[in-house]
Assembly symmetry: C2
Homo-oligomer: 187 residues x 2
């Protein structure tokens, strides 16, 4: 699609409305929400949605870029507030909570950390992987984390533990993350 800046006024308006509505509907209904409903709620024809976002995933990612970048920024904030090992758990806790509470976020982050998935190379994938890598390296340097774990790997594990927590009604996520960290302790 053309750069947002260079779009015709009506196109830009539609683009923005679609992003806003998509973020709401995905959050409510999850990543399998009806695209037709998103188009209708945004007041545009279904063809317009496809013109702006050729795939469901493109729309989902575009709708959540802001949220993902906020998560990346949170990693830096937490790194200042807490010692490395605790910072990592705290950040994974926030991500995990988001995956449980915000529809579609778990699916988006999942594809962003899937081996061989082209989405891992998108803004979301790069942002979240870089943040995780930074926290992991600091924890390893501090000696509170094994050296054989990567950023993308803890993200996959966080995704898995969020899934496990969901099966149990959304409880126990923090507890599961603590179990994980004990298991990941060196020695």
């Amino acid at each position: 699609m053309a750069q947002v800046r260079s779009m015709r006024a009506d196109a830009r308006r539609n683009h923005e409305r679609l992003l806003k509505v998509a973020a709401e509907v995905f959050a409510e209904q999850g990543e399998r929400a009806s695209l037709d409903e998103i188009a209708k709620r945004a007041g545009v024809g279904s063809g317009t949605l496809y013109r702006h976002f050729p795939t469901r995933h493109a729309l989902l990612e575009a709708a959540y870029v802001g949220r993902i970048q906020a998560l990346g920024a949170r990693a830096d904030e937490i790194a200042v507030e807490l010692p490395p090992g605790e910072a990592l758990v705290a950040w994974l806790g926030e991500i995990g909570l988001g995956m449980i509470q915000v529809g579609g976020l778990k699916a988006l982050l999942g594809s962003a950390v899937t081996d061989g998935d082209s989405f891992a190379a998108t803004v979301c994938g790069v942002t979240v992987q870089a943040a995780a890598e930074k926290l992991v390296r600091a924890a390893v340097a501090e000696g509170s984390l094994r050296g054989d774990v990567s950023g993308v790997e803890v993200l996959r594990l966080a995704h898995g533990l969020a899934t496990a927590s969901e099966l149990g009604g959304g409880r126990d996520l923090a507890r599961y993350l603590r179990l994980l960290m004990e298991g990941l302790h060196p020695g």
Copy 2:
């Protein structure tokens, strides 16, 4: 549906064919496989499929009961071969591998351990939870597992770790389970 034994000959034949074909198609394509394709491959009208199995989940569970019971039996075998703590990891490893390799099995086991889900009370749920509970209790008694963990909980965690492993291309499942067991060690 009527008892299988009391069914008319053609109905029983259709029932069996549907189960056999469903097991194949679900295994290949996952739990969202086309029901129409299953009906076609079984050589029956789509209405017949719905007559025998009113919901997708009923068909999935019926198709996999045998597999689930085999997993239950494996728990007893392994309990004889290995000390309690190792038996639990080994069994969770087999279940996890099944969830990764057999389409639809992860979804089925997921609903069987979901809090508040009516499917937790089905044959599959009861079978797998009882087996897990037995292994967990033995490991707790032996002192190799914390006392505050339940059978259904380790199944949820195994589901989560299988998911994490899938994101990484199906590798590292055994490693993740070992991390979990270290985290679940008492003291």
